[in-house]
Symmetry: C2
Subunit: 145 residues, 2 copies
DNA sequence: ATTGATATTGAAAACCATTTTCAATACATA
DNA sequence: TATGTATTGAAAATGGTTTTCAATATCAAT
């Protein structure tokens, strides 16, 4: 876990006139130490164990907050619910998603990113954000089909 | 409208042991003649005018059917609902989406697609499908900000 | 420290796009 | 033309997410 993630949240909150709370800090810590691509419910279940008092709604609210604060990325794959992942300051990555077993593999590719910028430029478009997902079969699922 | 879209649907239905119905044909025709990236509700409203008897659920059901039949692509952008677009046999394209005015610009880029295949290959992954969306500001919205 | 204003919380209810249910109807095969 | 069943429309249900609301906690000012 990044040393100052909790601080980073505090700063964001202070800057917005919002308040630091123990729940927010606790949720953030569990979020960071948990695996990637968690849904709100998955995080809720993990948070419940060490902090049984925390409610469902607070987890939802905190995840949105973390996204606003730049500490999390919000992603909607095709499985019906929103997943969040902890966002290190500068890494951007995309996803390979197995349609059979649900495995999610991350990748980065600068050349693709560069070509995206070309496309945007040609269309007088200013990119703030992007999303690239390749759906298909992972190595394992190709064998065991 | 492609000459034989209705036929194409009929063939799919027959092949699956399903039935052709006037509603399905009517919805398909409105779907094709309407603009792209329609939500179920938007299509429902357009279908209502010439065919007031058709119900909401039937539009939903037919859109899923068209997707299964290969006549439509189902896409979830970040605005909360599923959008469909008529799928010509072989074109694949991706999207630039304006976060301010909601405009959707389509583009194709073979070099990006080729690089995607490279990434997949390196990860022993077999791509069935992909999705690339660039979110940002369109030319107009950059000016009028 | 104490107070006061108000942001936040947990639980339950509300939301809302989408799906399902169900009785009535329409399609396709014999 | 009759028969079995897929399909329909309307309404209810579903399910992830958001909102409501009274109780509580935070923080700035005292």
């Amino acid at each position: 876990m990044r040393k100052n993630a909790v601080e980073q949240l505090s700063e964001y909150l202070a800057g917005q006139g919002l308040r630091s709370t123990t729940q927010r800090d606790q949720i953030l810590q569990v979020f960071i130490s948990a695996g990637r691509h968690l849904s709100a419910e998955e995080l809720y279940l993990r948070v419940k164990k060490p902090h049984p008092g925390i409610g469902y709604a607070t987890v939802y609210r905190t995840l949105k907050l973390l996204a606003e604060a730049g500490l999390a990325d919000e992603r909607r794959f095709e499985d019906g619910f929103t997943r969040y992942e902890y966002k290190a300051s500068d890494d951007h990555h995309d996803h390979l998603i197995c349609t059979k077993c649900g495995a999610i593999i991350e990748f980065e590719n600068e050349r693709i990113e560069a070509l995206q910028q070309d496309v945007a430029r040609k269309n007088h478009f200013l990119v703030q954000n992007h999303k690239l997902e390749l759906y298909g079969l992972c190595g394992n699922c190709q064998k065991n089909r």
